[in-house]
């Protein structure tokens, strides 16, 4: 099949970017979207052009490194997948596909389709851990955790940190990302002792980084590759409220 990729090119952070069209043939339906970009890059190399910078690593939807806007949607036309899980069978021969980087104030563009998501790391650094040193743990079964609690913690913990929630949110809010981490740790007995401080610190950092406020449009949960529910945000807000009252 043949497709036209309309891709955002931007040399570096300060440069002005623009869209550029690339007509690519010899594509097959079972190619992944990223493999099509690989293929395009090989063509560019042979034409003596510099390649399109885009991100990926695991290519199986778990590392969270990939992620671009495709035809106006984070991670492309389907709900709850990552860019690397998108295949060309989702497009029609002759289609034009618009490809852009995540756009959010807290995620500055580095080059072409690559953005800087280190703001997420800094949110994690501000409390998304249980302060127990290596070598200090009690026997694992000494603290029982009901299956329902463990399962819910796991639902929240599944976040891959790709940033689609931020990119798709009209306020560029990181509420889903932050809530998922808070709820994972705060719902487990091991995370309880630092629960209040964790919510306070992580939500503060979210603002420091320049992420917007959540206005509950629900756009994020649709694009989240792990299908993390926005009820997490409500839960985080409740936890925050409690932490503010109890300190």
């Amino acid at each position: 099949m043949q497709l036209t990729f309309r891709i955002w090119r931007q040399e570096q952070a300060q440069a002005k970017g623009s869209f550029k069209d690339y007509k690519v043939g010899e594509l097959t339906e079972d190619m992944s979207f990223l493999e099509a970009l690989d293929h395009l890059n090989e063509i560019l190399v042979l034409q003596d052009e510099s390649v399109i910078a885009f991100e990926y690593d695991c290519r199986e939807g778990i590392c969270g490194q990939c992620g671009v806007f495709i035809n106006g949607r984070a991670h492309g036309p389907h709900s709850n997948i990552s860019t690397c899980q998108l295949h060309l069978r989702s497009f029609k021969d002759g289609d034009t596909i618009v490809v852009e980087p995540w756009r959010a104030k807290a995620f500055p563009i580095i080059k072409d389709l690559i953005v800087d998501r280190s703001a997420f790391d800094r949110i994690i650094e501000n409390g998304a851990y249980i302060s127990a040193k290596t070598g200090t743990a009690p026997e694992a079964n000494a603290i029982l955790i009901g299956k329902a609690i463990a399962d819910r913690a796991m639902d929240a913990a599944a976040c891959i940190g790709c940033g689609a929630c931020v990119a798709t949110c009209k306020n560029s809010s990181a509420a889903l990302f932050t809530a998922a981490k808070i709820n994972h740790l705060n719902s487990l007995p091991q995370g309880k002792l630092e629960a209040h401080q964790r919510v306070l610190d992580m939500t503060t950092q979210m603002e420091v980084e320049g992420f917007g406020h959540c206005s509950f449009t629900g756009a994020c949960e649709v694009e989240c590759p792990e299908g993390i529910s926005i009820t997490n945000i409500a839960e985080m807000n409740a936890r925050l409220f409690k932490a503010q009252i109890l300190g």
Partner: protein
């Protein structure tokens, strides 16, 4: 050179304790003066960096991804083993040790393997405390399942995302230490070379992948935790960025490379569907708990799987290995699949797959239970193939997956370069010629959390007396200049072929001749082909863009240049070992019914290669079996 593994005295059960009792201590005030570089932020690297920092050392940690959280440990699905005996099914440290040693076909050290099993139970305690949401029973206790090559249930898991959950726990502990300024984290930095001063590892040269700048980092010890190198096959279950460069450069600076050719080919990955394919997605081995593997009895059977009646199916693993059945170890399951596919019974569009069928499991336990156990794996399968595996069997195929080989390390996890350590998948240590499923997250974690932070003291205590080395030392200048020259050479070729072209060629040769089954003629042919490929790479590769910018094509080229050289060493190693053991199957050495024929008299050693100006010299670390007698490995 005599390779001294520094195995402590005493009975197996006491060795690690004896070691700890006699190892040196460093007082907290002095620890603050010591710098350690950790290259890698996977389970091994993040675990080590966080723990070393907690102990008081100053740590600098590196990864090539944009965040430490993305190291490829994140992709492990199935689980992590521990000898907790929670299921009351007769498990013990000894049994786990024995399973691991036997699973590795008696090509690893008893003392290391025992320590791995011994430290497994406290590791589960550790991760639980860090907030890993392991699967639980309704009563609140931890659940286990089985993995290949064992008959007890000792695998702990967090849905089908165990690696992710363990890595995120390690990453959060690392983040805690970043916040307290005891770890400086350098994401998007790739180590290009090792700096050795007076025979000791004293730092690295890394490339800032955003600016392209080459930077120098000095330390009192360097720890490599850079993961596996199975991307040498190009198509593998590894992440695209996984590379062998850091350990390869260390090898060229004097670190011995052990058992490079021991590569695990995983039996249950998704088959290749096109030439453009960039990776093979793994379907966790845990699926073999409930899935049954088969091919049609009839060659080129045109019927869809569900139309083939029970009596016309060949459940070849159950047929050949009745006592382990679908849970036969990986090397055996992969070879058995290859045998059926090569014999013309393969299924799927390219006839390169076998079926993994859940029909009986769904009939027995109901779809809801299967969904609870493997829901995300079935979902992932559907995303990639478009097929609903609750309705029809999955199609799976063997794929390159794990490197048992790696830098040679002693019991302290130190390489042959003093002050240079290798932990996690990038070392050769506990898995021998074949790794058991769910043992590798374990190894990476115990190396990083429990072992290295104890053993590194022995070296650093003495290093305190060394003259501190800074990045202004001439050795740093030299190595940086070499790294720069290397990059310029790659960019200067300006040939007519892409990096991916060469990687595909390398991958084909390696897969053909140095994967599941090997023979002398094939390996010799491969050696010739890869050497030619090396020549054409350096005369015909084309890389666009510059060195002083973010340049993903250049990154790929530098990694591939090292993979080509590593491929040569892998074939050399496979050629040298004239026996079959574990994943290393030499066609010349097999029994009448096609099983591996091990030659303990001649080959009970770890091959450890020294680099000598483009050539390799073999050293042998003899494996002494003091506590168990190597037996013929049978899963029948």
């Amino acid at each position: 050179m005599i390779l001294d593994a520094k195995i402590p005295e005493g009975p197996l059960e006491d060795k690690w304790r004896n070691y700890q009792m006699h190892s040196q201590l460093i007082n907290p005030a002095n620890k603050k003066k010591l710098q350690v570089i950790v290259v890698g932020s996977g389970l091994s690297g993040a675990g080590a960096a966080a723990t070393l920092a907690e102990l008081g050392y100053e740590v600098q940690c590196f990864c090539y991804q944009d965040s430490a959280r993305r190291a490829h440990s994140v992709a492990a699905q199935g689980g992590i083993n521990a000898a907790k005996n929670y299921q009351h099914d007769g498990d013990s440290v000894w049994r786990m040790f024995y399973d691991t040693l036997k699973g590795g076909d008696f090509r690893s050290r008893e003392a290391n393997t025992y320590r791995l099993a011994e430290l497994s139970a406290p590791l589960i305690d550790h991760f639980t405390q860090q907030g890993v949401p392991f699967a639980r029973e309704y009563g609140g206790v931890l659940v286990n399942r089985s993995f290949g090559g064992v008959q007890v249930q000792r695998t702990f898991y967090a849905r089908g995302q165990t690696g992710q959950q363990l890595l995120l726990a390690a990453y959060s502990q690392l983040s805690k230490m970043v916040r307290s300024k005891k770890v400086r984290m350098f994401p998007r930095h790739e180590m290009l070379d090792l700096v050795v001063v007076d025979g000791k590892a004293k730092g690295i040269i890394a490339r800032d992948l955003v600016s392209g700048e080459l930077k120098r980092f000095a330390a009192d010890a360097v720890v490599l935790a850079t993961g596996g190198y199975a991307r040498v096959f190009r198509l593998s279950t590894l992440a695209i960025g996984c590379n062998g460069s850091a350990i390869w450069k260390a090898h060229k600076r004097g670190a011995f490379f052990a058992a490079p050719s021991f590569t695990q080919i995983h039996p249950t990955a998704l088959p290749q569907s096109s030439e453009a394919q960039s990776k093979l997605t793994l379907m966790s081995e845990s699926l073999r708990n409930d899935g049954r593997i088969w091919v049609p009895l009839q060659k080129d059977d045109p019927r869809v799987a569900n139309d083939i009646p029970e009596e016309e199916r060949d459940y070849y693993l159950e047929r050949r290995y009745p006592s382990f059945g679908n849970l036969a170890p990986r090397d055996i399951a992969s070879r058995a699949a290859k045998e059926r596919i090569d014999a013309g019974f393969g299924v799927g569009r390219l006839k390169n797959a076998v079926y993994l069928d859940f029909r009986s499991a769904i009939a027995n336990f109901g779809q809801a239970t299967i969904k609870d156990r493997y829901g995300n794996l079935f979902a992932m399968y559907k995303k990639i193939t478009g097929i609903d595996a609750y309705q029809e069997p999955m199609q799976i195929s063997p794929a390159a997956h794990f490197s048992m080989g790696g830098l040679w390390v002693d019991y302290e996890l130190m390489t042959t370069i003093p002050g240079l350590y290798a932990i996690g998948e990038c070392n050769f240590s506990d898995h021998g010629a074949n790794r058991l499923g769910a043992n590798s997250l374990l190894q990476a974690s115990v190396d990083g959390y429990f072992i290295l932070p104890n053993t590194i003291n022995n070296y650093l205590a003495a290093a305190l007396k060394d003259e501190p080395v800074t990045v202004d030392h001439p050795a740093f200048q030299e190595v940086e200049a070499e790294a720069r020259l290397h990059i310029e050479r790659v960019l200067a070729v300006q040939g007519t072929k892409t990096v991916d072209h060469f990687h595909r060629e390398l991958g084909k040769t390696m897969w053909q001749e140095c994967a599941m089954s090997r023979n002398q003629a094939g390996l010799e042919k491969a050696l010739k082909a890869i050497k030619e490929l090396r020549t054409t790479f350096w005369s015909e590769v084309k890389v666009t863009g510059n060195s002083d910018e973010l340049n993903t094509e250049l990154e790929k080229a530098l990694r591939l240049a090292d993979f080509i050289e590593l491929g040569i060493l892998m074939c050399t190693d496979a050629l040298q070992r004239e026996e079959s053991c574990g994943a290393h199957f030499r066609e010349e050495f097999q029994t009448a019914d096609g099983e591996a024929m091990r030659m303990d008299e001649q080959f009970a050693y770890v091959s450890a290669w020294a680099y000598q100006q483009g050539d390799f010299q073999l050293h042998k670390e003899k494996l002494d079996f003091e506590f168990v007698t190597p037996s013929v490995r049978s899963y029948k």
